[in-house]
Homo-oligomer: 518 residues x 2
């Protein structure tokens, strides 16, 4: 009789299969990359000094607008000439100030195994942030909600080459804009135990992030350990505004690093020249980097930028263009000249869908920043439509691209060279290596096999449903999410975080701010 009672094979099989896949697939984060590629340097020493001199001339003679009373007062005290909101920065003062920025530091995650080093040859990949739309698991373009953000934080957690869950990868429209930063920060902290970024959308928001970091890491720990990073965009040409400067103070006072990021639309807010654009951008970055040291001497800070060229016809930002590569090479040289860690962007691009344009743009930029020797490679996954949407499909593929760039930049494996060579006489002319023991043992280590690229014959591809990469990546994303395991927060800290959010929500007026983007 008993043999007629069938086991629930399908469900158990499904579970077992999933468990097996989980065992097979390794979600462990790759350590922070040591990029061994030679730096692509387009400038000789004299040209680097020419850019430096041009930037210093701009700072001394044109000056920079700091549209913020506290910053102006800080600069006066620091010895700069201040006229109205314009600050003239002497090159001696700038050099003295930036000299105290650490050339590298450890960026701490709540899981210490996921700490990463920044600066020198150390590099990390950070997903995109700031998208007011997403293309979701069905490739539908729509406004995101907090659950969508959680999904991206989960995916960031699971993709080995991503070193951060960033912050508002997409904007959660189901929360009022004034309270959104609280939920974004909590989501970054909760769904991943990698490093994350802190919101800088206002000085008060930045203070909230600092408070939440203090709950998660402890106030004392923060004093001596970077645990988050905040981005502060400049308004090129040569303007820093109150929002960004206030947020910068919130971070620097707590010893947390900011990315000092001029926002460059080459040709629109810079001169129509690659070297002159770099000279202006460099002046802007230096002015903010110097200010971080006015706020707190010795605080870590990162040379940053958003970098595009613009279409002369429409004013739209362009990506994947030759000058963006060249500027990345040059800015890398400048950041190294000053000995400051350097943030750039990887996958910038303007495609509206995940079509070939998106692939060309992303791969071109990724390659350029690897050869340029960038440290903090932001917008490394998901960016599309000039940042207007984050694409789930592209997020998955970009993250694999990061893994491939990682492998390329790791350098060559020479340790088994002689063993590998010994296979040549074994196989001999006209033979093949697939059955050779060395191949069997070393293939996977020797050659990266991208999962998101389909390299089968067209017959097999058709038999499998003629799926283009978007569909394959979305299927993969669903499979990953089914396997997601939350790296639980410490219960006490979790409760303290939730209490903090609840209290701040009571304090911060929500008003009528749903469905707005920053």
């Amino acid at each position: 009789m008993t043999k007629t009672i069938a086991k629930p094979r399908t469900r158990a099989g499904g579970r077992a299969a999933r468990r097996q896949m989980r065992t097979a697939r390794d979600f462990t984060m790759l350590p922070g990359l040591t990029n061994t590629l030679p730096h692509c340097e387009l400038m000789d020493g004299a040209q680097v000094e020419r850019i430096d001199a041009a930037s210093m001339d701009i700072l001394e003679n044109v000056g920079v607008h700091f549209r913020d009373d506290i910053a102006l007062e800080d600069w006066r005290k620091a010895g700069a000439k201040v006229e109205g909101e314009r600050v003239y920065l002497d090159r001696g003062l700038v050099r003295a100030l930036i000299s105290t920025i650490p050339s590298d530091f450890t960026y701490h995650a709540r899981n210490p195994a996921n700490n990463v080093r920044l600066g020198g040859r150390n590099a990390i990949f950070v997903p995109m942030t700031g998208a007011p739309f997403l293309r979701d698991l069905d490739d539908v373009r729509r406004n995101p909600v907090l659950d969508d953000l959680a999904m991206f934080h989960k995916l960031s957690h699971m993709m080995p080459a991503l070193h951060s869950s960033a912050h508002h990868i997409v904007e959660p429209y189901d929360h009022p804009i004034s309270q959104r930063h609280l939920h974004i920060t909590y989501s970054s902290m909760k769904y991943s135990d990698k490093t994350f970024m802190g919101m800088t959308t206002s000085p008060k928001n930045a203070e909230d992030v600092m408070e939440m970091c203090a709950i998660l890491f402890g106030e004392d720990f923060m004093e001596t350990h970077p645990v988050t990073t905040g981005n502060c965009n400049g308004n090129s040409p040569l303007v820093w505004d109150e929002t960004m400067l206030g947020a910068m103070r919130a971070f620097c006072r707590r010893n947390q690093p900011v990315l000092c990021s001029p926002f460059v639309l080459g040709g629109a807010n810079t001169p129509a020249s690659v070297p002159a654009t770099v000279a202006q951008l460099n002046a802007e970055a230096l002015s903010a980097l110097a200010y971080t040291q006015v706020i707190r001497k010795g605080a870590p800070a990162i040379y940053g930028h958003y970098l595009s060229t613009v279409s002369m016809k429409s004013g739209a930002p362009m990506a994947g263009t030759p000058e963006i590569s060249q500027m990345n090479f040059m800015i890398g040289q400048m950041a190294r000249y000053y000995g400051v860690p350097w943030r750039t962007s990887s996958t910038l691009g303007g495609a509206k869908t995940f079509d070939a344009q998106a692939g060309y743009e992303s791969a071109t930029t990724l390659s350029a920043v690897m050869h340029a020797g960038a440290n903090y490679i932001w917008h490394s996954a998901g960016w599309n439509e000039a940042g207007m949407h984050c694409s789930v499909a592209k997020f998955i593929v970009d993250a694999e691209q990061c893994a491939m760039a990682y492998r390329m930049a790791q350098g060559l494996r020479w340790d088994d060279f002689d063993t590998a060579l010994a296979a040549v006489p074994d196989v001999g002319p006209g033979g093949h290596y697939l059955g050779h023991p060395h191949t069997q043992e070393n293939f996977q280590q020797a050659f990266f096999m991208p999962e998101m690229f389909d390299n089968n014959s067209i017959e097999q591809w058709v038999a499998e449903g003629s799926k283009e990469i978007t569909e394959r990546a979305l299927t993969h994303a669903r499979a990953l999410l089914a396997d997601y395991e939350e790296p639980k927060l410490d219960e006490g800290r979790n409760e303290a975080l939730l209490d903090y959010i609840a209290r701040r929500e009571r304090e911060i007026p929500a008003a009528d701010e749903l469905n707005q983007s920053y």
Copy 2:
């Protein structure tokens, strides 16, 4: 009365508009590129010598199969040890032989303005060849005919960054395989006056190409001037076959360069190790390069390869993987070590459609070969589906990618640096540059504006029909073809070529060979 007779405005307007567009768009070929990028070199001098020593050990101790009686006899006469079809090459002999290969040379086109230099820092972009299918102007995948090949030759002629019309970009299935090379060669010669490639599908076919080149350029001219290039693939590991060796002799005897191209499926026909794969590939290339000098001392020759890694699951070739970039960097070093011009491939990839996979693969490979310092950058436009089809849409986009890579590799423009900087105080903090005279005058020279990338807002993109890059590129291809103007062949030579083809068609049995691929 007369005013009721309307002028045929539409047609005249269309013609005028077309004429204007033709004036506006410049089809002039960009001169051969001088690649100023620093070479990405992963190996130090000792590692280069380690690869060289390993390759020489393979040549001396494992040997290479030359499956061709004439080659075996040639090698015996040249002093090599020959056992059966296996040739053992002493390193001293190899070094002596390859030392007479010119380190650079001029590759002549029938329009001398389109001559290009090869070797050293000189580089050219050559479209893909050999596709048994195409994706046509309607993105339909089908067998090509001679008119399709003519279309690609016309497009090659019109795209400024392509320096060659190659040869059988697609295979013309409407001609029998035994006579196809005649029509392919004529098409290359007729529809473009850039450089072109010569068929090497058999020794006799190669002789026909030589005869046709002699008609076009004159026999004496050919004796001292390279006017075409032929590709000879090796069968890795360590085999050269009769077809390729016979074709090689046809070219070398006439002083025409061959690309000595081991056909590497990394891990399948090479060891599972990047440096060991390069060592074997290098041995293979050296053995063929050495043989070119046995055939004719001083004949130009090119270090070549087809380079992929294979999927361990399916054996399918993979592209855009990190090891292909690394191997390109290494092989570039080896070719420079021997002082021989170097051919690689650009846009290899396995995507079945022109989706994002194709974009990532192509851009990654293109970037790698630019940083690697390649001279002869083959398969630079159109390649998809592991070479099984040439895509019209991708051809157009790839050719623009070449133009962007060209611009990137040209280096920085410093001549107007001071003038450009002078705009900074003019504009000042918070201003914009779009109206500044320097911007107006220099924008187009300063920043490349890709035509195939859409960077408009999504609203505008939707208003224009939500066209992805494939559709935009096909529209562009149609517009280009409407503007095509044939660079007429000299009448006498044209007739001589047609006579030659007619005679050879009478001599070569056609048999039942339609609809076969090589």
